[in-house]
């Protein structure tokens, strides 16, 4: 769904990412790779599967839009226990084969990243990243004159009438900043409400619908 956000035309994708056509950039947030591995490291058995699915989804979007770069707005890796040999191998392979430049804006979950990262990986790491007029920051904030794209909150919305009720992930867009939905399927979320000060774009399967 094409929407004017921060005076730029953005394509909000049902695959939980945004394609910014003018700059030919794809951006998304909160992948939380290695989350299942972190649970296993803590003695809680969870099978792998979501990580492969999430990486495949990113790959699918890159092949579809052929952007020049892809920005991950924080929380690429779940925790320091996520760095198993297998997880590391999979991420490395994905980055190596990725035909576009990958940028990471550091999030709260990425604390362990800098110690564990392989210097040979083609991954550019930033605290914040400015590509005018957009400022990419993991934490939501206002920072005029820029328009901020953030993640971190994992927004979801409840829609119901007398008959039916759905809980859907969503994009939450304010006047000067917007929050991306979580990219990973293996993550919870926090409820947001539709108010006059924001617009909500909910994701039903792969379709984006404004609420």
């Amino acid at each position: 769904m094409n929407v004017m956000i921060g005076n730029e035309m953005c394509l909000l994708l049902g695959e939980k990412a945004v394609y910014w056509e003018r700059e030919n950039i794809l951006f998304l947030a909160d992948i939380h790779l290695g989350k299942a591995a972190a649970f296993r490291g803590n003695g809680v058995f969870i099978p792998e599967g979501t990580m492969d699915a999430d990486l495949a989804n990113v790959q699918f979007l890159i092949e579809k839009f052929k952007p020049t770069s892809c920005i991950i707005v924080g929380d690429l890796i779940h925790s320091n226990l996520s760095w198993t040999t297998e997880v590391k191998r999979k991420i490395g392979e994905w980055l190596k084969n990725c035909p576009v430049e990958v940028h990471l804006v550091l999030g709260n979950h990425d604390k362990s990243l800098l110690k564990n990262i392989d210097p040979k990986w083609p991954l550019k790491v930033h605290d914040e990243l400015l590509i005018e007029p957009f400022l990419f920051s993991h934490y939501p904030k206002e920072c005029l004159p820029w328009f901020v794209w953030a993640g971190h909150l994992h927004p979801k919305i409840e829609v119901k009438n007398g008959h039916d009720r759905l809980v859907l992930r969503c994009f939450q867009v304010f006047e000067n900043y917007a929050i991306l939905p979580t990219f990973s399927d293996f993550a919870g979320g926090s409820f947001v409400n539709k108010t006059p000060s924001n617009r909500i774009f909910a994701i039903a399967n792969t379709t984006v619908v404004e609420i």
Partner: protein
């Protein structure tokens, strides 16, 4: 100790030895195991405990000799005194101690350096002791295990946990005697066997002591004064006030905590002069306050207490003369238990006054009378193959000294709940803990349990610590402490309720109107509010379904037009007349279906009168059959009388025939429904918690554990998708099948319905039967539409408004 001391002590107390006690003493002194079942208050405790005490040697070996397991932490204090009494009176040298959740850490530590001879314990604390490295040492000289209230435990996962713990104790002390104490239930033989384990032959000791229960109703004179729906019943306040007398000690039982609060306040507002003799009692209120209320009732200072099931069991209140029950108690044994609170001689008849909260509950009263007449009482069913509890127990044992595979399998098979556990499933449980058990991959980072020289142990101390925090099978929402700003604690309340409140909001709790001042770190700070407007705390799991035998009886009494003699019968006739005006009163061989159109859509009401639990399965099945060949979203709701299916589009009335209830293809359809529907997710919540997949966290340290938090719904999806054949998913589905699609009974009911004459009525106005379903909708959804379509339709609905 000499067995003559038994008689000596009873003589000292000037008590007479009852025949059942004598039988029990003989059997226990012989070294047998078994179950003692007599009505509450008849003296079960001493029937089992005294002979066990008599078998102790003066200068015996080290370690715990008698283990007394009670599910009721609240009663532990009184029980401890009861266990100490004969020892003190007879100047014996045995040591008695109590080990429950509220005993201090230092005391517990001391207990283990010099173990007592007699230990009083809850199932959860026992599990914790089994996770101790010294478990074997502490229990190897155990002589007797007494399990109190086995009828309460046996049909729950706490019962499974107890069975497993007892089997572990047996492996430490093979000659241990096991005695269960139980109230009257419908399947005592099974209860006895599950209590002692399949490797022992139980001695069943029960008396023919039957107690007569007289059910009286408190109703208005006309039907107009009785509401058609509702469960609070406040409208009957004037009638209840007439029955209350400040000189007669009375217990008023209600079914939910919210109801208790409302009633307490309503009575107090009508009779402010009763302020000092009236109290409210339920499980969320602070323990200290509850103790005060119980003490007040015991000595007779307090005259009227409004309570929930919190006072069903427990200490005797000798002053209580009258019992009122607001709303239907929903189970025969619960009603008898409650009625018995007013009668202190086991054999004398007892009265219970039932106040119906809505018109149809009058019909339920008839079902109770019939049940009492027919001596019908509920059975307690065992839970089979609870993998979640087994996984917890295996981890406990691995921490507490470890175990060998073959030996453990043999031990577990002696438990009734796991007797059918195949070797293959057992191996699967073990590999779940050791490797994750996934067929598809190997995960070196997963090391919950390891095999060291053939022994299964837990090495990681963090995993042990976390496991001990999570031991137990009672799952609840996160609880928030409610405290006055000055610091006095008032009780505990579910987090989900508190999240609905804003600072400054008022709510009713512990009989007080409180104002929320601040909420942080799982503590809600409140102050007393002045104004009278407030929300009442609403708790999860409020309403109980009818028990199985009652469900069956309901249909028999409901179709019965009696020549009216009493006020109650006249009222029932009036109800049925109104039903006839708007719709129809079905005869026993008929099935009534009503169709109604409202702004919301098309409602289909079906009345099999089989109780809520069965209706849930039946409604899902019916909805599933109606949704074949079309995309549709149904909203389903059920109560004890029938079920409702709500649809946006009209129903195809050609489908409303007997074939809709055919039992053909049932087995296959169950599976489809469970897979399609979210039913199993609900069960999975507790399973994930008990098996240790979801860590509820250290108290008050939620934030630090964020990385381990996960919603059970999400976990269910991941496991179902990426771990085919997962044991716990399988269990969740089996639990749904057991609970809602109770195989045999559903098939039986379908058989009846497919032969009934179907009477289909179109309603212009809602009928008395349909009103409760319509008004109190507790709904589930069954859908064959895509998310996109559903969202589109919801949004269209908004535009129309």
């Amino acid at each position: 100790m000499d067995d003559q001391l038994l008689f000596k002590w009873f003589a000292l107390k000037k008590w007479q030895v009852l025949p059942f006690q004598l039988t029990a003493w003989k059997s226990i002194l012989k070294g047998n195991s078994g179950l003692i079942s007599v009505p509450t208050g008849a003296g079960k405790t001493y029937a089992a405990y005294l002979p066990a005490l008599a078998r102790l040697e003066d200068k015996g070996k080290k370690g715990i000799k008698i283990l007394y397991i009670t599910p009721l932490k609240a009663l532990a204090n009184d029980l401890e005194s009861a266990l100490k009494a004969p020892i003190e009176d007879l100047n014996l040298s045995f040591k008695v101690a109590r080990r429950t959740g509220d005993v201090s850490y230092s005391k517990k530590k001391k207990q283990m350096t010099s173990p007592p001879d007699v230990l009083l314990i809850t199932p959860e604390s026992l599990s914790l002791l089994l996770a101790d490295l010294k478990a074997r040492e502490n229990f190897q000289n155990l002589q007797t295990i007494i399990i109190d209230e086995w009828h309460e435990l046996m049909s729950s996962k706490r019962g499974c946990l107890t069975e497993l713990a007892v089997s572990r104790l047996k492996s430490f002390a093979p000659d241990v005697q096991i005695w269960g104490l139980s109230a009257t239930i419908g399947n005592l033989e099974q209860a006895a066997l599950s209590c002692v384990g399949l490797d022992k032959i139980p001695d069943l000791i029960n008396t023919e002591m039957k107690r007569e229960v007289i059910i009286q109703s408190i109703t208005p004179n006309t039907l107009q004064a009785l509401p058609w729906v509702g469960f609070l019943g406040i409208r009957s306040l004037p009638l209840v006030l007439e029955k209350l007398d400040p000189t007669v000690s009375t217990i008023i039982f209600v079914n939910t905590r919210a109801q208790a609060e409302k009633w307490y306040l309503a009575i107090l507002e009508s009779r402010p002069d009763w302020q000092n003799i009236l109290r409210v009692h339920h499980g969320s209120i602070d323990k200290k306050e509850r103790d005060e209320v119980e003490e007040g009732m015991k000595i007779g200072n307090l005259k009227i207490v409004v309570c929930t099931s919190s006072l069903d069991l427990g200490i005797d209140f000798p002053h209580v003369k009258r019992v009122l029950q607001i709303g239907s108690p929903k189970s025969i044994s619960r009603m008898i238990q409650r009625a018995g609170r007013a009668s202190h001689q086991p054999l004398t008849p007892c009265d219970i006054f039932i106040v119906p909260t809505h018109a149809l509950e009058l019909l339920e009263l008839k079902a109770y009378r019939k049940a009492v007449e027919d001596h019908e009482i509920e059975k307690r069913y065992l839970i089979k193959n609870a993998y979640d509890v087994l996984l917890q127990h295996l981890t406990t044992c691995a921490i507490g000294g470890g175990f060998y595979k073959e030996e453990m399998y043999k031990t577990i098979q002696t438990c009734s709940g796991f007797s059918q556990l195949t070797k293959e499933k057992f191996e699967k449980c073990l590999s779940f803990l050791v490797t994750g058990g996934s067929a598809l991959a190997v995960y070196p980072e997963y090391k919950k349990m390891v095999i060291f020289q053939d022994k299964y142990v837990v090495e990681d101390s963090l995993i042990s610590r976390r496991h001990k925090m999570n031991i137990g099978t009672i799952t609840s929402d996160a609880l928030v402490v409610v405290k006055f700003l000055r610091g006095k604690s008032i009780g505990l309340i579910e987090e989900s309720f508190l999240n609905q409140l804003k600072n400054g909001d008022q709510f009713l709790f512990a009989g007080k109107i409180l104002k929320l001042m601040q909420y942080k770190d799982l503590t809600a700070y409140v102050s007393l509010a002045k104004k009278n407007q407030c929300k009442t705390v609403t708790w999860r799991g409020g309403r109980l379904p009818f028990s199985e035998p009652l469900g069956k009886l309901l249909r028999k009494v409901i179709v019965y037009f009696k020549s009216s003699l009493s006020l109650e019968d006249t009222l029932i006739n009036n109800i049925l007349q109104v039903q006839n005006q708007h719709s129809y009163v079905p005869k026993e061989e008929e099935l009534l279906i009503e169709i109604f159109r409202s702004r919301e859509g098309f409602h289909l009401f079906v009345y099999p009168f089989e109780g809520k639990t069965l209706h849930e399965g039946l409604a899902n099945l019916t909805a599933h059959r109606l949704s074949q060949n079309q995309s549709v979203t149904f909203v389903i709701s059920c109560n004890d009388y029938g079920f409702e299916i709500l649809s946006r589009t009209p129903f195809d009335e050609d489908l409303l025939t007997n074939t809709l209830f055919s039992s053909d293809g049932l087995e296959r359809e169950y599976k489809e429904i469970i897979n399609l529907h979210e039913l199993a997710k609900g069960c999975f919540r507790d399973i994930a918690r008990i098996s240790g997949l979801i860590f509820t966290g250290y108290p008050h340290k939620h934030k630090s554990q964020r990385q381990l938090q996960l919603s059970s719904g999400l976990l269910y999806e991941v496991l179902e998708k990426y771990d085919p054949g997962n044991l716990l998913i399988e269990q969740a589905k089996a639990e749904v099948l057991e609970k809602q699609f109770d195989h045999n009974r559903l098939a039986e009911v379908l058989e009846r319905l497919s032969k009934s004459t179907i009477c289909c009525k179109h309603l212009i106005k809602l009928s008395p039967f349909s009103l409760p379903l319509y008004m109190e909708r507790v709904s589930e959804r069954l859908t064959t539409e895509t998310t996109e379509t559903r969202l589109k339709k919801i949004l269209e609905g908004w535009k129309k408004r």
